[in-house]
């Protein structure tokens, strides 16, 4: 039954999108994290998607091939009274861009919904196929 592989394809997309949603959540949670004693602040993480063949030629799933850390410099804010301030009075925050992350989150959740809808339609069609000839 060729329609059954739709569940594999959409399932792989759903798991990839939820992994993307996970990284967005950890990025947003650390948006205000400051650099620790080692001077390294939190670096924003982004997932990289890759197409992966799934048996038949017409079914192509998705997988997360890598999670990359952004190399942008962290936000530096002048706050001499902060306990983590450096010699010049600057505090280094994480390099997460909150606006970018929100856009990423909306895009991931929309893609997730799309794939759930695809699975529901495929399920309905398969159930109707089972009732064929009755």
């Amino acid at each position: 039954m060729s329609m059954f592989s739709i569940f594999n394809v959409s399932g792989s997309a759903i798991s990839a999108q939820s992994q993307r949603l996970n990284t967005v959540a950890s990025n947003l949670a650390n948006v205000d994290a400051v650099a620790g004693p080692d001077g390294q602040s939190y670096k924003a993480r982004q997932v990289v998607f890759q197409t992966t063949p799934m048996g038949a030629d017409s079914s192509a799933g998705v997988r997360v091939s890598a999670i990359q850390e952004s190399n942008l410099p962290g936000r530096r804010i002048h706050d001499p009274s902060h306990p983590s301030a450096d010699a010049e009075g600057y505090v280094t925050h994480s390099n997460v861009n909150a606006v970018e992350e929100m856009v990423n989150m909306i895009s991931a959740s929309r893609s997730y919904q799309n794939n759930v809808e695809v699975m529901n339609t495929a399920k309905t069609l398969l159930l109707k196929t089972l009732q064929m000839g009755q």
Partner: protein, 139 residues
């Protein structure tokens, strides 16, 4: 004799298989809507069905990438370890920075359209089965 009774079912059976195949191709496109560099795949249902019903063995389907009949068609693409692919490439509507050619609006519309036509084919098959049964029973 039995061949004549099931001839029409054969046609609808082929149509149902192709609809399922297309549903799977569109589901793959939707799944890869955010994958950089992914090229959307699709095929023309009418041409594929014509080729299947003319010769009972499915040949390579007509490529969608040629916009004019005089163009030289692109060779069928290969993905992974499979043999020559029967799928063509969808035309790109809105270019994006990551070279992904999936048009979500078009794919969703095609998905719903294909689902409805799949159900229609199922009803044709059911109707044919009912007709044959009532002919056999003679009631």
């Amino acid at each position: 004799m039995l061949d004549k009774m099931t001839n029409r079912l054969d046609f609808h059976g082929n149509a149902l298989l192709l609809r399922a195949e297309r549903q799977r191709a569109i589901a793959s496109n939707i799944a890869n809507a955010d994958t950089p560099g992914y090229v959307a795949r699709d095929f023309k249902f009418a041409d594929a069905l014509r080729e299947v019903s003319e010769a009972q063995n499915p040949g390579p389907m007509r490529l969608q990438s040629a916009t004019d009949p005089r163009h030289i068609p692109l060779p069928a693409a290969k993905t992974g370890s499979g043999s020559d692919s029967a799928l063509g490439y969808s035309l790109q509507t809105s270019p994006s920075m990551d070279n992904n050619t999936v048009d979500m609006d078009r794919e969703r519309a095609a998905f719903v359209d294909n689902a409805v036509r799949y159900e229609a084919t199922l009803r044709f098959i059911n109707g044919n089965a009912k007709t044959m049964l009532s002919a056999i029973q003679g009631q």
